[in-house]
Every structure is written in C-alpha cells, then in structure tokens.
C-alpha cells in the first residue's frame, strides 16, 4: 500500500465504508441576486465599485475614455515618466487607443527583462498597471482577471495604481454566475477576484487603504458602440 492509499483508506475506515468511486453532487439552493437589464447592471456595478473604494466610469468611445482618464489623473499626471506604466500584452482596443491618444509611454509586461531579479525592481517603480477584466460582479463590486502568458499577474498587483477596462456585456449579477463561466473553460494558473483597493484594519481596527497591493483602483466600463 502506498502512503497515499494508506492515508485515504484510514479515512474510509473511519467513515465505515469503502471509498466511493463516484459521488452524487450536492444540491443546494439559496436566494439569487438578479437584476433585469444590462443597463441596470452597469449602473449598479459602478455604484458598488465606488462603495468598495474604487473609481469607476463608463465610456462608449476612446474619446470619452480619454476624457475620463484626464479627469482622474489630470492632463499630465505628476507621476508620469518614461518608465511609469506597465500593461498586459493583451489589452482591449480601447485601452491601447487611450494610451496612444494621451501619448503616455507604456511598457508591456513581456517587454521587461525576463529575469525576475531584474524585472521586479522595475515593476516596483511602476506607477500604473493597466489590464482588462474578463468579468465584473455587481453584487460585490468585483473584477475577475484570468492569467495567461499575455496577462501577467503582477501588472494588477505591484504598481501603485491599477486601471482596468471591462466590457459592459461581461458584467454579471453575482459570484455564482461568474463561477459557472469560469468552470466552463480552461482553468488558468491564476484567477484573481478583486474588490477594491488593498486594505487593512489590523491596527486598532482602523481602516487603512493601500497595504501591499495597489492604493488606487480605477475601472472603465466599455459600453457597446
């Protein structure tokens, strides 16, 4: 008997039966949070996103998105330099167009050195990370980001600010819907569900924003053109 077989068989023995070869899935029911229309989802998501401490806005065109970004960061942000923005390699067209329009220099994650010892110190100085989200969740004001070779995980984590673009059509009511979608496709190395900026209440229960992850988070909801 291998160590694993021994480990498992002890459990079976305590349960007083042999290990089953298949198990009927458990059926549960609970009240579902559901909205009626996509317009309502967009509005309610933006509301909840702000409650969670994020800055959210919607944009139908690149022009509108650029004006939102200027509104958030100013015409020329004081943190902006040639090495202050890093983006996913795979980015929504609108996000890429905004950067061009604004003439903000940005690195894609794969353009940085492949050796973490060189890459990490550069990432540490980045002021803004730009990504695109797969889904958003109204009920909790969350964004869901799946990793891939073109969607590096550190881009949404290490820079001081995180900006993400999410299509209005991908906004879901609640986590159960998102999980159903995630389960129906290949599971990547990481799925991050992010709800607001990094925070802690570890010092005298006093809320403090920005511990290890991004201090400021921004989302642009891309409306259908």
């Amino acid at each position: 008997m291998t160590q694993r077989e021994e480990f498992i068989s002890r459990i079976a023995q305590k349960l007083g039966r042999p290990t089953p070869t298949s198990v009927e899935p458990v059926e549960v029911s609970f009240p579902l949070f559901r909205l009626n229309s996509q317009e309502e989802r967009v509005e309610e998501f933006l509301k909840m996103y702000e409650i969670m401490g994020g800055n959210g806005a919607k944009a139908r065109t690149t022009e509108e998105a650029v004006s939102v970004l200027k509104n958030w960061f100013g015409e020329k942000p004081d943190w902006l330099n040639n090495q202050s923005i890093v983006t996913w390699d795979e980015l929504p067209t609108m996000a890429r167009a905004c950067l061009e329009e604004l003439k903000w220099t940005a690195y894609t994650y794969s353009e940085l050195p492949s050796n973490p010892e060189e890459r990490n110190p550069i990432m540490d100085k980045m002021e803004l990370g730009i990504t695109g989200a797969d889904y958003a969740i109204v009920q909790s004001g969350s964004l869901i980001l799946k990793s891939s070779p073109k969607r590096g995980r550190a881009v949404s984590l290490i820079p001081t600010r995180h900006l993400t673009f999410v299509a209005a059509s991908t906004i879901l009511d609640s986590l159960d819907q998102a999980m159903e979608k995630l389960a129906s496709s290949d599971v990547p190395a990481a799925i991050e569900i992010i709800s607001g900026p990094s925070r802690t209440s570890d010092i005298e229960m006093d809320l403090s924003i920005g511990v290890h992850g991004p201090v400021e988070v921004y989302t642009i909801v891309m409306l259908d053109q």
């Binding site: 198990v23 969670m52 973490p116 550190a154 709800s195 290890h212």
Partner: protein, 481 residues
Amino acid sequence: MSLSNHYDVNEALDKALKDDFLRMATRRATDRLRNGRINITNELGNWEEWREAGEKIRNHVVENLDYYLNQLIENVEKNGGHVHLAKTPEDAVKITQEIFKKHGYKLVVKSKSMITEEIHLNPVLEEDGIEVVESDLAEYIIQIAKEPPSHIIVPAMHKNRDQIAELFEPIAGHPLESDTPTLTKFAREQMREKFLSTKIGITGCNFAVADTGTVTMVTNEGNGRMVSTLPDVQITMMGMERIVPSFKELSVMLNLLARSATGQRLSVYTTMTTPPKRDGDIDGPKEWHLVILDHNRTEILGDEDFRSSLRCIRCGACFNVCPVYRQVGGHAYGSVYSGPIGIVITPLLEQDYKRWGHLPYFSSLCASCSEACPVRIPLHDLIVKHRDRMVVKGYTSGLEKKIFKYYGHYFSNPKTLRSFIKLGSKFQFLLMKNGRITKGPAPLSNWTNSKTLPPIASPIFNDIWPNLQKELQENKGGEKE
C-alpha cells in the same frame, strides 16, 4: 499546541482580566466584526437559506472526504504540482524542511496560515537558519512581539498603536509616529523588499477545489497574492478537510466566509490559483507543493459526536459573539485556536483532555456561537459533550468528583436534603455581611472572592409549605362561593 511550556489557567485568566487595554480592544474589535457580519448578511436576503446551503456542502465534503481528497490529489498532480500527505504536525514540518534543504533558500515570506501555527513551523525553520517573514500586517506585528495570534481573523487586536510603533522602531532605526498611515506605510516598505527578493513563499488555503486542483486564498492586504505570484517555489499548507467539490460550491462558501469573517461582501482579493505556472506564463511559481495535514482530523471524522466540527471554515464569527472570549481575549485559552471552535477542536486535534481539559469550561453555554456559525456547527452542544466525556473518562478533579458524589447522595433523599438546608440557614450568618453570603470556604470561595451569593431563606420553604397549602385550600373554597 501550547504557546509556551508554562501555562496555568488561573494565571492566564488573571492576567487577561487585569489588562484593561486588552479587554477594551477585544470588545471593540469583536463588536465591529459582529455588527459588520449582521449588516452584510441581512443584505443577502434569506441568510438562513445560505447557512443551510453551507452546512449541506460542508457535510457532503466531510462525509465523502476520501473521495474528494483522492480527486484533489489526482488533479494537483495532473497539473504538475507535488502533493505531500502529513499524518502528524511533525511530518508536515519535516516535509517543509526537506523542500528548503533541496533548494538551500535562506529567506521565506509567508502569508497567513493557521496550519503553520498549528504545526509550529516558524521556530523550526528559524533554527535551520532561515529568515521567516510574516507578511500579513497583524502577523508581522505579533511575529516581532514574539506572541501568538489572539484572534484567527485579526491576530494583533490586543496591541495598541503605541505598542506597534515601539515594535517597529528598532527595525526602522528611528522614532515613528503611531498614526495608522505611518505604521502601514512602514510595513508596506519593509515587506516590498522581501516580496521582491524571496524565492519561496508559504501560504495558507481557505478552500481547495477537488475537481480542478485549485487552491483559494482570501486576503485584504494583497500579501497572499504577492506570495503566490512572485516566488519561484510556493508551498501551500492546508488541513485535509478544507475542500469543496467544484467552483459552484466555492461561490457559496466564499460568500459565507467573507460575510461572516469581516462583514465584507467579498474579501478584497480572492485568489484562486491552480499552480504551477503554465508554459509561457511570465510570473507565478514554477514549482508548487501542497502539504495536506491530518493531525487527528481522521480521528474526529470517526467520532460521530464531533464530526460536525470539521465543517468549520475558520471565519471567527463564533469568537466575536462569545461572552467569554470577549472578556479575556485569545491568549488566555493557551491554545493555538481559541474561541468556541478552539474549545471544541483543540482537545480533539491533540487527543488530550489532561492538558486541554480547561477549555470546555471557557463557555457560558449561551449558544450565541452556534447561532453565529455560517455552517451551523452546534458548538455549544459539542462543548457540553466534551464536559460529559471528561466526566465519563474520569478527567475531572478529585474535589469535583467528591462534591458531586455527596451532592448525589444527600440531595436525592428529601430528608437529608431538608436537614442540610436547615443547617445551612442556621449557620450561614458566619459567612454573611449586609444580608449576602460574602466569604465562603473552598470551593465556594471561587465564587465569593469576586461576587456575593443570596442567603438561604429562613424559615425554609419546606417549613412554611404546610401553612401555605392550608391557605391555598381556604382561598379555593372562597372562590367557589
């Protein structure tokens, strides 16, 4: 599972009760967590239906644990991860030491893991010459203070800001203001350097998903993401019961966990990793070890009285409503897991009533814990069961046994009972002051040292009962007319 070799329950309680800041801070934190939970669970609609779903899912997993463990192990190995099964805490520590030995790493950054507390990993790694850095802000604070967690969700709730600033100052090398932004910023800067340079990370696991080989971790600070993203090698530690069948059940459990633990709709970061990194991925660990700990959980599984305690998702909701925990905080318990769930699982994990027999008495049996539990563990019933078992197995003190023996003997006979009460009512004046019993002999003194008792009535009820009965009869007769 002791925190230091010396533990005396009375000393520990005295210390806690005399610590005004600790008691204020514990009340403040538990009030806030409890109220947050109540508000955010109300928002969900029918919370009882959610609890029922949570109970059902966790029961299902516990009852089919061998099946789901098999499935989890197969999927983790299929993805390219390494599974290590640890029967005892010593096994888990040894497995971890071996991984460090293989790579020769001298620095490790950890995110919060109660399992590593349970197996006492840090001191062993430090003895091996490895620098161990806790990255959760609260864990970092208590690591510097060399103290164990006082709460499973907010482990440093017993420390005030001035104490924290004092702990940070020697590391900073200069005086620090004790406002929250300054202290948080200091921790962020300290930790950044460690995150960016460590080659290995250790994390906990809130839920492992059997049908994908995914481990899920919830954090608010982002340290869990750092530790599972940046190092080359990652070790995940989990108790063997921390499984859900699939993403579908995970969504229910995440709602229950975040809402019950901190009153959040979801934690800021819910990190679902299925390591190791895929071909072409730029970041993420390329080597992943999943350590699955038994530590007598199998024994609990086989014990039908206590099996339900394996449903626990470690949200800490039971701590925040417990009148005993709220008065004395976590350290007074002397165990790694405190609060009502700690009372239930510690004697079982350790299979030791001799050392942990004081715990089932850290409860008023008010049942608030059972009511708060998101997976409906009947905690107060289990605490009573512990007491019952200790009596049956003969773990109670000689004095207690004697008292109950005499109590049973004399109080089951009306004649002797009456004469004892009479005797008491006659001589109790020796112990009385201002109409209350104020100083009793041992073991009554345990009560009268801090509180008073009402005196036995004089004359005693049994003596006036014949007269009362007569009066009653006369009154009844009067009514009839």
